[in-house]
């Protein structure tokens, strides 16, 4: 079975600070990995995805994530956050051949102006 852990439940940062949100997954084979963002009152939007190839993936709005297979991790990073990045961030995993996504519990990010 596939599973995802997001250890940071709530992160508070000042504008211009650097961000790293942790994501660890569990699955015994090839995986797809995703980060979704949910702005207050809105639906989930895809930030970035990893399928294969370069383990450093760049997404929208200046976000990037690095897949480290040996650590089963897919941490999300942004060098300088903005107030508009205030949202909830979800990491998700999908094992090869499995259509179901398993989401982490989410990390609420609050950016202080």
């Amino acid at each position: 079975a596939q599973s995802v852990s997001q250890h940071n439940h709530h992160v508070i940062l000042s504008e211009a600070a650097s961000l790293e949100l942790g994501c660890n997954y569990s699955y015994g084979g090839t995986v797809n990995l995703f980060w979704y963002v949910q702005y207050p009152g809105q639906h989930l939007q895809l930030l970035l995805k990893y399928f294969s190839g370069d383990p450093l993936v760049k997404g929208i709005k200046g976000f990037e994530a690095e897949f480290i297979k040996s650590k089963f991790s897919f941490n999300l990073r942004k060098p300088s956050v903005q107030w508009s990045d205030t949202a909830e961030y979800f990491c998700a995993v999908r094992g090869f051949g499995n259509e179901k996504l398993t989401f982490g519990t989410g990390t609420r990010l609050t950016i202080i102006p």
Binding site: N32, F34, Y36, Q42, H43, L44, Q45, L46, K49, F51, F90, F96, G97, E99, K100, L101, T102, F103, G104, T105, G106
Partner: protein, 114 residues
């Protein structure tokens, strides 16, 4: 941009009433997923379909919930009878049954059962 459309956006009703939520997947997508989001449980997969056939509804309380796809452009999630613990945001997502394609989410239905 193609989008997943969900109706209604908000629903408030009394306990015991039937609730029907609708989802129009992105044209051409052949997989449809229903999720429930609550503060306590986060995002839970309730059911999903491929080519209109239900593949997995193990996340759904069978006695009161039902999910169907009457045609390729409509998926429904029904609760009968509804209970206060069903209050949540219900999201529909659609995608292609290809390993390298992500799911696209609708805006959700915010359901409150009084």
């Amino acid at each position: 941009d193609a989008r997943v459309t969900q109706t209604p956006r908000h629903k408030v009703t009394e306990m015991g009433q039937e609730v029907t939520m609708r989802c129009q997947p992105i044209l051409g997508h052949n997989t449809v997923f229903w999720y429930r989001q609550t503060m306590m449980q986060g995002l839970e997969l309730l059911a999903y379909f491929r080519n209109r056939a239900p593949l997995d509804d193990s996340g759904m309380p069978k006695d009161r919930f039902s999910a169907e796809m009457p045609d390729a452009t409509l998926a429904t999630l029904k609760i009968q009878p509804s209970e206060p613990r069903d209050s949540a945001v219900y999201f529909c997502a659609s995608g292609l049954d290809s390993f390298d394609q992500p799911q696209h989410f609708g805006d959700g239905t915010r359901l409150s059962i009084l």
